[in-house]
């Protein structure tokens, strides 16, 4: 069970000026699994994500990805290695259209870095079919030409997922991907994540526990920066400590 760990954190710790946001977290994400990180507000979930993707430097601990120590690497390098994250606060490129948002990710994947400042951006038109296809997967076809800053919150989240998927990541880290979405969108994105999770690993923070129950193989519960419990949904949801700390866990 534990032999194929794609992402591993050992003793991961982060201090913010004397305040310990993440406290000696050991996390093992199994290849091919959908792993949830849950916990009350301020538990340190997003901070964990920032540490794992190197947007923050850990105060202590190590991170291994695919058997490689990535503790000292830069965030863009990690992204290029196939470990791609989304953000809790919707992160789109506001001045661009939805199509261009997805295209900019495809551009990185297909062209690497674009130093070609002497070329017309017509070369990017080749990526548009693929970009449209990704938008279609998140139900955004009708909004392709709309400026991203004008989209509703839920659509921005959907756009973000399409943009992340455009990189064809090996490991996806999704920070509350469904926050602010309508019931209908949640259902669509749940199906989408289940589909894209085939052949990939997903680590997600999600407050919607029915989504967690549907999607996730393994759940880690975080409270006050430390791991409180870990296991399957059934195991975790019966844990008295979890019920105590995590207000809002429904029965079973």
């Amino acid at each position: 069970m534990s032999d194929d760990i794609v992402l591993k954190a050992t003793g991961l710790t982060k201090d913010f000026k004397g305040f310990r946001a993440v406290d000696a977290v050991n996390l093992n994400v199994q290849r091919g699994s959908v792993h949830a990180l849950i916990g009350p507000n301020g538990a340190g979930k997003s901070t964990c994500f920032n540490l794992l993707t190197k947007f923050l430097t850990p105060s202590a601990g190590t991170i291994t990805y695919d058997g490689r120590d990535i503790t000292r690497l830069k965030p863009e390098v990690i992204a290029r290695m196939g470990l791609v994250r989304s953000f809790q606060i919707s992160a789109v490129f506001g001045s661009m259209t939805a199509l261009e948002n997805v295209r900019i990710a495809l551009q990185r994947r297909r062209h690497g870095d674009s130093w070609d400042f002497w070329r017309s951006q017509k070369v990017l038109a080749r990526l548009e079919d693929e970009a449209m296809d990704l938008l279609d997967q998140v139900g955004m076809t009708g909004f392709a030409r709309e400026q991203a800053s004008d989209l509703s919150y839920g659509r921005k989240r959907a756009l973000e997922i399409a943009t992340t998927l455009a990189l064809d990541p090996k490991v996806l880290l999704l920070d509350e991907p469904m926050a602010g979405m309508t019931q209908e969108d949640v259902a669509r994105i749940t199906t989408l994540i289940a589909r894209v999770a085939v052949g990939r690993t997903v680590l997600m923070v999600e407050h919607n526990l029915s989504v967690v129950a549907t999607l996730c193989d393994r759940i880690t519960v975080l409270a006050r920066g430390a791991i409180l419990a870990e296991g399957s949904y059934d195991e975790v949801s019966k844990d008295p400590q979890v019920i105590n700390a995590y207000i809002g866990v429904p029965n079973g």
Partner: protein, 321 residues
């Protein structure tokens, strides 16, 4: 530059019809202007227009405000002046040398600046520009307070004399136009697209795997290079390189030009440069009042035309410029 060229019927984002028309208009204006105004005055507008566009390559696309852009403009004007006067370079080599000096300086300073964010970036660029200013004041070959005077215009390729203002104008106009086209191309290249992504959301661009600092550095160097070209042209045209062009006030003035014209537009900085130079020319007789009037115009622009003259007009008309 937040706006995109229109999507053409074929669905290809190339130069839109409206942009093509604007370039034709610009070409027409550049062609007839020396017959309607003093050629040297128009040359001044073109030099500053190019300078302002170079600043906006960084400001408009990346959202990075350099407060020391005059360093590259001024240093290159010294470089061109020195090369033409002391080494006897022909104008094209003097200009090439000017650009080289700006690019090398920009590469070094840029590496030290691009990691700073927001106001710190502005401060660091200003600090480096002050270094260049003191260097220009103290160095043995810059002529101190006098600058480098009586720079020969020379003959292009050693063949075509630039002695007449019209011959000079022809050279400046061609260089200007090609440079503007190049800046336009950079803005709407795949590379330029990445810059706007970085401006819109830097962490997101990083999370997509873009090496953000290198993009910023590349733009810094490009912007320095075009500023250097503008400075070189100015030195050759006015046969003078002086401290005014490296002074921090010049860095402020070019920011003013960009803001007045509209930093979210490609062509706006040209309008800003035209307006500022025209104002300075008209008000020259009033001495110190120029600065005050300039300040008032700037305030009016900020208050009335929040996106700059061209930016606001384009918005009203639903155009993308």
């Amino acid at each position: 530059m937040t706006t995109q060229p229109e999507i053409t019927a074929a669905g290809l984002p190339g130069m839109s019809a409206s942009h093509r028309n604007l370039f034709l208009l610009l070409l027409a204006i550049v062609a007839v202007a020396p017959f309607l105004a003093y050629p040297l005055l128009v040359i001044k507008v073109l030099c500053f227009g190019l300078f302002a566009l170079s600043l906006n390559l960084m400001l408009g696309n990346l959202g990075l405000l350099s407060f020391g852009h005059a360093a590259y403009f001024g240093l290159s004007s010294y470089a061109a002046a020195h090369a033409a006067k002391v080494w006897g370079f022909t104008p094209e080599f003097a200009l090439g040398f000017a650009v080289l000096v700006a690019v090398v300086t920009g590469a070094v300073f840029g590496a030290l600046c691009v990691r700073r964010q927001g106001i710190y970036f502005a401060m660091v660029t200003l600090a480096f520009a002050q270094m260049i200013y003191f260097f220009s004041l103290q160095a043995p070959f810059t002529g101190g307070e006098d600058g480098i005077q009586n720079v020969p215009r020379g003959a292009l390729f050693g063949l075509f004399s630039l002695q007449s203002d019209m011959a000079l104008y022809a050279l400046v106009a061609v260089v200007f136009f090609v440079a503007v086209l190049a800046l336009y191309r950079i803005t709407w290249s795949p590379f330029g697209q990445v810059l706007r992504a970085i401006r819109d959301n830097e962490p997101r661009a990083i999370s997509l795997g873009y090496r953000v600092d290198r993009y910023k550095w590349t733009v810094f160097v490009l912007a320095a290079g075009f500023a250097g070209l503008a400075g070189g042209l100015k030195a050759i045209s006015f046969q003078l390189a002086s401290l005014t062009d490296v002074y921090w006030g010049m860095s402020g003035e070019v920011v003013l030009m960009v803001m007045i014209g509209g930093m979210a537009t490609f062509f706006g900085p040209l309008i800003g440069a035209l307006l500022v130079i025209w104002m300075q020319n008209e008000l020259a007789a009033f001495g110190a009042w120029v600065t005050i009037v300039q300040g008032l115009v700037f305030m009016a622009c900020i208050l009335v035309f929040r996106k700059g003259l061209l930016g606001t007009i384009a918005d009203r008309l639903g155009l993308k410029v």
